[in-house]
């Protein structure tokens, strides 16, 4: 595959670029990528090339000088790479993120698949809440036998309980 810029040398740097919400693949050779500053982090915001102009600006507005405590990633790193450091970064840089996601997707809320584990955890939490409501009612109604039974079941469901 040849370089998109000079159309002569073999491309060694492969980029995905979003322009006006359209994704484009950009393939550059060694010398053209250097010329465009792709390999020179100081002179060039890869995030802008990758995610559309203005992406790194959005991020900058969101958080200043902050670093992800989990992976040490900063918004300057995002500007360089157009990628996040770890999943926790989505929390740390949430402010600028919203505007950026809005530009590239349909809204900013996931409506698709949820991992089984989380579904189970959610059901589990709901069940716990339901039992606690019932317990309060049993106590109010002075049904102590039922209350004791419910307490037992809650104990089993609470975090740290065996089999959960």
């Amino acid at each position: 595959m040849n370089c998109d810029v000079c159309k002569q040398k073999t491309a060694t740097v492969f980029l995905t670029q979003i322009v006006d919400g359209k994704m484009q693949k950009v393939n550059l050779c060694e010398s053209c990528s250097k010329e465009k500053g792709v390999t020179d982090p100081k002179g060039f915001a890869l995030a802008d090339l990758l995610l559309g102009l203005g992406a790194s600006e959005e991020m900058e507005r969101g958080s200043t000088g902050q670093k992800c405590p989990m992976c040490g990633f900063s918004q300057a790193d995002f500007k360089k790479t157009g990628r996040f450091g770890c999943s926790n970064c989505y929390e740390i840089f949430a402010e600028g993120l919203e505007a950026m996601l809005k530009g590239m997707h349909k809204g900013t809320t996931h409506t698709g698949k949820v991992p089984q584990r989380l579904l189970k955890a959610r059901q589990h939490a709901e069940e716990l809440k339901r039992l606690q409501r019932e317990l309060r009612k049993a106590v109010d109604d002075e049904k102590y036998e039922t209350a004791a039974e419910l307490r037992d079941r809650i104990k089993h469901l609470e975090p740290g309980a065996a089999g959960v």
Partner: protein, 378 residues
Amino acid sequence: MALHNILTESGEWLSGDGPHSNIVISSRVRLARNLRNFAFPGWAKKADRIAVLECVKPQVESLPEMADAYSAYSQDLSALEKQVLVERHLVSREHAAKGVGSAVVMNRKQTLSIMINEEDHLRIQGIRSGLQLRNVFKLVDKVDTALGEKLDFAFHQQYGFLTACPTNVGTGMRASAMMHLPGLVLSEQINQVIQAVSKVGLAVRGLYGEGTEALGNLFQISNQITLGEKEDEILTRLNKVIEQILQHEVNSRASLLEKKAVLLLDNIGRAFGILRHAHSMASKEALNLLSCLKLGVDLGFFPEDGRLLVDQLFMETQPAHLQKSSQQKLQAEERDTLRADIVRAKLAKFPKPDGKKAIERGREERKEKDEKDSGAAA
């Protein structure tokens, strides 16, 4: 299983027996997944990448879908082997550039491949012949669900599955179809189609070649949006658009047969002549000529039993496949000579194109249709 065992068999998607596989070469779906509490591969330190790899790889290998799998660390694959996998769409070009800390696991049918520590910790990819995005999705979805029980995937209440690049966040799903569209190219309608498709949030790009040039008339249509739409909605929309493009391609072929038969005869005839007699051929030229030959088979200019041969040549004339078959690394000039030799040998008994019958049949069909239409109107 050894890699060469897998590679001597051509993948399922190359066999060309899926729905509409004349025009829709393959359907592909990939899911991007990451583990919570570990930096993404591009930012992680080597030790962390290896830790993720050693945690993920056994889980992937123990999937029932991977019972007869090939599994390899990236550093154990030669550059040529990686390139062969890229040409078969089993690993991405980005993944082929990885070394220590990455791996790939694929099933024997070559319908499922899982890249570990590409841009994301996991890239689960399914690929099948023809238009069957939903079947491919079912496969990767099942695998994803199974892995999700064992691995703690990074999932956000609002943003969904978290990915290194925010363009993939949400479903983490990229679905695509590879289409062979010589009719739309020859009738100069392809740019309109590309423009129309990009307006509905999908992307079209040439599979090979750079810029607007699409070698071999092969195009890839894929979704761009991954957040704010359900997997099912994305697939439905993409499928609808692909079916429309498919219909446009069929129509443009019919209209070429009827109105521009000489253009077709000339293109297919020249392609046949050059492929049969050339002694040096660049990969670009081979792709374009083979595309004409494939169109010839589709239109009935060549017997149907020549189809598999032509489809196989598309792959066998790719640079890495060529070098693999010759067991050595070749210079560009040597490659071009070898490519022409292989094509000549394979097509030695290929019959001359015969467009007469196809063109007559096209005219008759058109006449029948017109009569029916005018009958309906009366």
